[in-house]
């Protein structure tokens, strides 16, 4: 079956040529000297006023990185990256730290206004229907503003740039940083460990339900600069947090590297919901420019009955290499991954997830929809594994892909590994097997097979996307109604 016209139109509307966030903010910046060496690492550490242990941690990572080889297993193709031909640190000139919004360069504030990210708390209250959203705005290598910090502090929630957390909460950072994604986990994670600049740090104390959505907005602005953000979220026993991440970059004809590491830790009965709308500049229709997005995201369900849920809407980046994963360590823990990945132009997406079942009675669910148009390639790569001790582990995976046009490719590479007889894993890529009961219910009420499938899956995805704040809704709205008609595996 070919794709329905409605779907074709919707995907066209978010084509690479329609990139809305491609403007550039002209600012004077201070940068680290070009290239990457131990001096660059020391420079970054010094700019962030980091304690000695952190500098050593970075240097150790850098030395390991030098012995590593760039991975080639992903289904992406790009010219070799010259790691010496980029800047690893860039901050707006005379930047003194985000004490008050009044100190922030008005140009930067204007940038966020243009992007539709309200940084002033009173603006947030007006006009936005959903509940409040606290924002940490990261501009190139520094966090320029973090809102609602005081209000969050009242309930004990720590929400601040990670550079601040390293100074103010070293005991937490020392305990958790690198505990989910080890320093030498992979080539890009190790590079990030050496040169990470800013990102968010979140700590939700025991039993606290975070009173508002937390979010970080990443913006790459400076030319020829990589962004290496690092985010660490810890949900202590019985707590809950929903965190959102958004990203954009100016339209340029050069490729820029973005290698982030995100670590989530959920202790007993805690729940973390992590949502991303990734909208880095995807390059033009001919594949010129665009962000190389090499990201390591991993959540550790460390405590019993903990839950981590990843939701991602991927529309940007020239190359996406991203596998938000869950380590289901605690008994009865639960991992979820919902993804919509749309590629167009010459974009290459290799994305998916890993669900690693270690504890007893762990459950996970993977719903992935890939849509490839133009001359793009869209790959789902996912691993589900059950350890010997993961009795009664359950996984359900459903990945659908849709091709629009005959120049693109959609690929599915699932790895399903079971070492426990009582683990039940189901992987399906057909649209007819969702849930017979639900299907029967819908069809009995007069919906066709396809309408029923669309209703069930979209209803499901919609439910998750509703947690995104208004700023992100524009993009997301276009995606949720995409029909499943014409889906292939």
């Amino acid at each position: 079956m070919a794709a329905v016209q409605e779907t074709v139109d919707r995907v066209k509307a978010i084509d690479v040529d329609q990139y809305k966030y491609g403007f550039e903010t002209v600012l004077e910046t201070e940068k680290a000297p070009k290239g990457l060496s131990e001096d660059t690492v020391r420079y970054i550490s010094a700019r962030k006023n980091e304690p000695e242990w952190m500098t050593q941690w970075r240097l150790d990572a850098f030395r390991r990185w030098q012995t590593m080889v760039e991975p080639t297993w992903a289904r992406v193709d790009y010219p070799k990256i010259d790691y010496q031909d980029a800047y690893y640190y860039s901050e707006p000139k005379n930047f003194s730290g985000p004490d008050s919004l009044d100190d922030v360069d008005p140009e930067i504030l204007k940038t966020y206004e243009k992007l539709g990210i309200p940084l002033r708390e009173q603006e947030l209250l007006a006009g936005v229907k959903t509940s409040k959203v606290a924002v940490d705005a990261v501009f190139d290598s520094v966090s320029v503003a973090t809102t609602f910090k005081e209000e969050l502090k009242k309930v004990g929630v720590i929400f601040c740039p990670i550079s601040e957390a390293i100074r103010e909460h070293p005991e937490l950072v020392k305990k958790y940083l690198g505990s989910v994604v080890p320093v030498s986990d992979n080539f890009f994670a190790t590079l990030n460990s050496a040169v990470f600049t800013d990102g968010s740090f979140v700590y939700i104390p025991e039993g606290v339900r975070c009173p508002m959505e937390l979010s970080t907005y990443f913006r790459i602005n400076e030319r020829n600069t990589g962004q290496f953000e690092r985010t660490l979220i810890i949900a202590d026993k019985g707590s809950y947090v929903s965190y959102l991440e958004g990203c954009t970059a100016p339209q340029r004809d050069e490729h820029q590297l973005h290698a982030a590491v995100v670590e989530l830790v959920a202790l007993e009965d805690a729940e973390i919901k992590y949502s991303t709308v990734q909208n880095w500049f995807p390059g033009d229709a001919e594949g010129k420019g665009g962000i190389y997005n090499f990201v390591t995201k991993r959540g550790d369900c460390r405590g019993d009955r903990s839950k981590i849920s990843w939701t991602q809407v991927e529309t940007g980046s020239a190359i996406t290499w991203k596998y938000p994963s869950c380590i289901l360590r605690g008994d009865g823990s639960n991992g979820e991954f919902y993804s919509i990945a749309i590629s167009n132009g010459r974009q290459q997406v290799d994305s998916g997830t890993k669900m690693i079942h270690l504890g007893k009675n762990t459950t996970s669910r993977i719903i992935s929809k890939g849509i490839a148009a133009g001359r793009s390639d869209n790959t789902y790569r996912g691993q589900v594994s059950a350890h010997r001790k993961a009795s009664n582990a359950r996984n359900f995976t459903n990945c659908d892909s849709l091709l629009i046009g005959d120049q693109c490719g959609a690929h599915t590479v699932p790895y399903i590994e079971s070492k426990n007889a009582s683990a039940v894993f189901e992987h399906e890529a057909t649209t007819s097997k969702i849930s017979d009961d639900q299907m029967f219910y819908c069809m009995q009420r007069g919906l066709s097979d396809e309408e029923a499938v669309a209703l069930i899956v979209n209803g499901f995805v919609k439910d998750v996307l509703q947690h995104l704040p208004m700023e992100f809704a524009v993009e997301a709205q276009k995606l949720i109604s995409i029909s499943l008609e014409g889906s292939v595996g």
């Binding site: 012995t67 091709l403 629009i404 005959d406 699932p414 790895y415 079971s418 070492k419 992987h427």
Partner: protein, 439 residues
């Protein structure tokens, strides 16, 4: 950073390299064949024995598994042949199908002449420069496979079979039997060319002595012309210490009806790789498999199916039953090329874990470049349904018997792919025998 890693050769690789250098000039064939051997060996040498770093061998590290490369067996004398064939007479249960017999990789007997079927020993064909030898290794898709390349480099023993339309509904068995006093290796190769409009039932059986650590790297190639019909059945009942790598390479013309079914119960380690390419439109393809493992057995089935032309249908169904500490691997890759519109491909792999410590690795892949196709894949693994077990036991069946009934039902589905009743009976008997041995 990124320094070139100089591959350290394992004992097996060193032995193979030395063996090729020593044997290159004495292997049958003209200079063109010699060049092909050298090219093939170069391809093998580049990677060496495949490791996990090669994606197609993600779960099967042959470099670690094939620790040594025993010398090829000597050509068995008449007495040895008689002993081995007598031992193997009952396997599979006698079929009314003419057979080619192989002992330790050597072609030892050919059936009496069959109308429309031409059979030549491979070494004779290579030495005589038979025109059909040019069709060996024709499938592009399998070119880079190191184990196939290794077989090509050393190919000498085996046969070339050509079935013409005049043969009617032809049948042929390829019976491989292995037994010797000491570990050995063998690398037989059989090419079967089925002419346009011809029809063939091909039954390939592999058996061997238990307790003997022999290695097999067998290749069977099938080239089916336009409108041909081929039913292929393969049984791996190698000895319990055998390491068996096998390749089935299939190229199909237009409107071919092709089916292949493989049953694996034997060998300590087996890797069965299937490469299938569609060269003509309108082919109808069915590939099935049933694997039953126990003890510490390891079996890998890897399928690569290339839909290069439009309007082909394919169905793949693989079932794996794992007992004790055995490990099963299924990798299936369906490629749909840009012009292969209206392809309909469905692949399913299901695994049943009967014991706590069994392991199953599934990797069903889709690689799709055409937008007007229907492709689906599914993969499941789990244990026997407790409710069903309870139901059967409540009706008086002992536990093992209830389990056997359910396993038989589980494996029954792909067995239906085998069209010939006498062949299917053989397979069912093997399944029942395996279950009976569970106690």
């Amino acid at each position: 950073m990124g320094a070139d890693v100089k591959p350290l050769r394992t004992a097996a690789e060193t032995a193979l390299i030395a063996r090729f250098q020593a044997a290159a000039n004495s292997l049958p064939g003209d200079s063109a064949t010699g060049r092909r051997r050298t090219e093939a060996f170069d391809r093998f040498e580049k990677t060496g024995l495949p490791t996990r770093r090669i994606e197609e061998f993600h779960y099967t590290d042959l470099r670690a598994l094939l620790r040594d490369a025993p010398e090829p067996a000597a050509r068995p004398d008449a007495a040895a042949v008689a002993t081995v064939l007598a031992r193997n007479a009952a396997f599979p249960a006698p079929l009314a199908i003419p057979s080619l017999d192989f002992v330790n990789g050597y072609l030892v007997s050919q059936p009496p002449a069959i109308a429309g079927v031409e059979i030549v020993a491979l070494d004779a064909a290579l030495a005589a420069g038979d025109a059909l030898t040019s069709r060996l290794g024709a499938l592009e898709l399998a070119q880079d496979n190191p184990m196939l390349a290794l077989n090509t480099a050393f190919m000498a023993e085996g046969a070339i079979v050509r079935v013409s339309k005049d043969a009617g509904d032809a049948g042929l068995q390829l019976r491989f039997a292995n037994a010797a006093d000491a570990p050995f290796s063998s690398a037989p190769r059989v090419l079967v060319v089925v002419d346009d409009g011809a029809s063939l039932d091909l039954v390939e059986t592999h058996a061997g002595a238990n307790g003997l650590a022999y290695q097999v790297n067998a290749v069977v190639e099938i080239i089916a012309g336009d409108g041909a019909r081929v039913n292929h059945t393969r049984i791996n009942a190698e000895g319990d210490a055998a390491q068996a790598v096998s390749t089935l390479s299939v190229s199909l013309g237009a409107d071919v009806r092709f089916s292949s079914f493989g049953l694996t119960t034997g060998s300590a380690m087996s890797r069965h790789q299937i490469f299938l390419g569609c060269a003509g439109e309108g082919a109808d393809i069915t590939i099935g498999g049933a694997t039953m493992l126990r003890g510490r057995q390891f079996a890998d089935t890897t399928l690569t199916l290339d839909h290069a032309v439009p309007n082909c249908n394919s169905r793949e169904l693989f079932k794996t039953v794992l007992d004790d500490e055995s490990t099963g691997v299924f990798q299936g890759k369906i490629i749909v090329r840009q012009h292969a519109q209206k392809t309909d491909g469905r692949m399913m792999s299901a695994a049943l874990l009967l014991a706590e410590n069994a392991t199953m690795n599934n990797k069903p892949e889709l690689e799709i470049f055409a937008d007007d196709v229907q492709c689906a894949h599914g993969a499941t693994c789990g244990q026997l349904d407790d409710d069903l077990l309870f139901y059967l036991m409540a009706r008086g069946l002992p536990r093992k018997q209830a389990e056997a009934l359910m396993v038989e039902a589980f494996l029954g589905e792909p067995l239906e792919f085998v069209a010939r009743e006498d062949v299917r009976d053989n397979l069912v008997a093997l399944v029942e025998g395996w279950l009976a041995a569970r106690g």
